[in-house]
């Protein structure tokens, strides 16, 4: 079974709890069990409150971490997938469909990494091809036509780098999404649920409000990619340095004004309690969409433009040219 090294002490205690619970005379050990559970709770809290950015990246990639279709199961009703980009094919790395979240009808669009090995291979581990981005935009335009708000869930290491994806215009597909999403005349909210890998993430990430789950990451490049370029080698040490330098955690991105909100995860991460992660996410989606639905479309589009227009750190330098 998959485990993170820094979760080792937690898993050991969980193992002890499980074996004690399994005993026929478990009732006699109630006090010990309570004590173990308390230790487990405080150990999780301590571990997770002190995660380094690189450890956060690894939590974001945890194979048990809920993916888009898990959140659909936990949070949405009446979801029906809408497939295909009507141009080339259907990319399973991005799923789309109408559904209901709380009191709202929405169009849901999200990256899907896949659970089983065949699923993961089909989804290219959440790395979408151009047809995925084109499908996403087609379904978003459909929602726009009928005044349905849009929710996107971002979870990708990056857009797929391959021969076919280049041939079919990966760059054009992402660029076109950025341009067109900025003008959608319905509310758009985006949530980074796991990995926010660069342009592949932003390709479905232009919204009125952008949030990150507490243990997700969002950056211009993965820590390994950054380490490989800047330090010539990606290893534990350079990845740790790169993750820190890239300011990729939810807290960092919120502090820098690049995302609007951080959605808290249950103690020990969403993979420990997907239900409660989904509840919190649903709350955020519903309250934000209800707020945005009160804004007229012209104003909505203008405010979305201004939200991105503001971003940038520039200064002045007056120096004589040599």
């Amino acid at each position: 079974m998959f485990q993170l090294d820094f979760e080792q002490p937690i898993l050991e205690i969980e193992h002890q709890i499980e074996s004690m619970e399994a005993r026929p005379d478990a009732a006699r050990w109630a006090d010990e069990l309570a004590a173990l559970r308390a230790t487990r709770g405080s150990l999780i809290e301590k571990t997770y409150s002190g995660l380094t950015p690189w450890q956060t990246v690894r939590v974001a990639r945890h194979p048990q971490r809920p993916q888009t279709l898990d959140y659909v199961d936990l949070m949405c009703r009446d979801f029906g997938q809408l497939h295909g980009d009507r141009r080339f094919g259907d990319d399973p790395a991005i799923v789309c469909g109408f559904c209901r979240i709380g009191p709202l009808k929405v169009m849901l669009v999200g990256h899907q990494k896949g659970r089983t090995t065949p699923e993961r291979v089909a989804c290219h581990f959440g790395c979408a091809h151009p047809e995925g981005y084109r499908k996403a935009l087609l379904k978003m335009k459909l929602a726009e036509k009928f005044g349905v708000p849009i929710v996107t869930l971002i979870d990708t290491p990056g857009a797929y780098p391959g021969i076919g994806s280049e041939q079919r215009g990966q760059a054009e597909a992402i660029a076109y999404n950025l341009r067109e999403m900025s003008g959608l005349r319905v509310p758009v909210v985006c949530i980074v649920i796991g990995e926010g890998g660069s342009g592949g993430a932003l390709g479905i990430g232009v919204g009125d409000r952008v949030a990150m789950m507490r243990y997700s990451w969002y950056s211009v490049i993965s820590p390994e990619g950054c380490a490989a370029i800047l330090f010539k080698e990606a290893n534990e040490k350079t990845n740790t340095h790169a993750a820190q330098a890239l300011a990729l955690t939810a807290a960092d991105n919120a502090r820098n004004g690049l995302v609007d909100a951080v959605i808290e995860e249950p103690n020990g991460g969403a993979h420990r309690d997907p239900r409660s992660a989904a509840d919190r996410m649903q709350q955020w989606i519903v309250s934000n969409l209800q707020e945005l639905q009160r804004i007229d479309p012209d104003t909505l589009v203008r405010l979305r433009f201004e939200r991105f227009r503001r971003i940038g750190a520039v200064g002045q330098r007056i120096a004589p040219r040599s």
């Binding site: 581990f125 790395c127 290491p157 990056g158 857009a159 780098p161 391959g162 021969i163 994806s165 280049e166 041939q167 079919r168 215009g169 990966q170 760059a171 054009e172 660029a175 950025l178 341009r179 900025s182 003008g183 890998g197 660069s198 342009g199 592949g200 932003l202 390709g203 232009v206 969002y218 950056s219 211009v220 490049i221 993965s222 390994e224 990619g225 950054c226 490989a228 370029i229 800047l230 330090f231 330098a245 890239l246 300011a247 960092d252 991105n253 820098n256 690049l258 433009f305 991105f308 227009r309 971003i311 940038g312 750190a313 520039v314 200064g315 002045q316 330098r317 007056i318 120096a319 040599s322």
Partner: protein, 278 residues
């Protein structure tokens, strides 16, 4: 699985803009050419037609009617919002690039005339940190788009970039959305955007404004793509076809309208402005 690299992932030292010296060796055909001969030929190899990488400033000089370029935001300069340090502090990298190029950052923007047609021009500069897009490049290009929108000018952006600038991380990434959103407004206002792709155009620049031209022109044999060739090779574990990610490959795939020799660029731009400009 392998890391997804965003920036141009090849060493940038070997194919950089031509260095000092009277004689220049062509990286394509290895012939040695007298610098002056190369310069009068717009830095295109007279022997093999290789289009050398040129600075943003030289690009502007080559493209516009002499003396008509009026820069905007010339003093805009980078900050270090993340206090980024790798093997060297970002501030030091900026200072080094500024010292070696004499520029504040990696793009020239301003109004000018091309064969008597008034235009808004942005020319990226590969000599400044591999033409990478951080906040300054994103801001200057966005402002150029807005200026073109407000003044009904045809917009020409010459791209030449290794991609988004890693040292500004999320700030760089968001410049893709910012420039593209500004282009949406320009498009709605009916503006003409001619995107010119020079060697190399990759990563976050390709995946934003460079691919959003009403007309997309590429210089011959330029490297144009989304992911770097090395990352693709690592991911798919096979060799890449000959000519992969060149202008000619993009033309064949349907993502470039025309391949135009540097010597014909002015004429081509003027011609398009006459058909499609306001």
């Amino acid at each position: 699985m392998s890391a997804i690299t965003w920036d141009l992932d090849e060493p940038i030292t070997d194919k950089r803009a031509v260095k000092e010296g009277q004689w220049v060796q062509c990286p394509a055909c290895s012939e040695t050419v007298f610098r002056r001969a190369l310069e009068v030929n717009l830095m295109v190899c007279p022997k093999c037609d290789h289009h050398h990488r040129i600075s943003g400033r030289l690009r502007v000089e080559q493209l516009v009617d002499t003396g008509t370029f009026e820069p905007i935001n010339a003093h805009m300069a980078p900050m270090d919002p993340l206090v980024f340090t790798d093997t060297k502090p970002y501030l030091q990298r900026i200072a080094d690039a500024q010292a070696s190029t004499g520029e504040n950052d990696g793009v020239q923007t301003g109004t000018a005339y091309v064969k008597g047609r008034r235009i808004m021009l942005a020319a990226m500069d590969f000599t400044f940190m591999a033409g990478s897009m951080g906040s300054v490049v994103g801001e200057k290009i966005t402002h150029a788009i807005e200026h073109a929108t407000d003044h009904d000018l045809p917009l020409i952006i010459v791209s030449c970039s290794g991609g988004a600038r890693m040292q500004e991380s999320g700030f760089s990434l968001m410049q893709m959305a910012k420039t593209s959103a500004a282009l949406a407004r320009f498009d709605r206002a009916g503006g003409l955007f001619i995107s010119v792709l020079a060697d190399p155009t990759t990563g976050g620049v390709t995946a934003s404004f460079a691919m959003l031209g009403d007309v997309i022109i590429a210089e011959p044999r330029a490297l144009v793509g989304f992911a770097g060739p090395r990352v693709i090779k690592q991911t798919i574990r096979q060799d890449l076809p000959d000519g992969f990610q060149t202008s000619e490959f993009l033309l064949k795939s349907g993502f470039v309208d025309r391949i135009v020799h540097r010597a014909n660029l002015r004429t081509e731009i003027a011609r398009l402005v006459d058909y499609a400009g306001k």
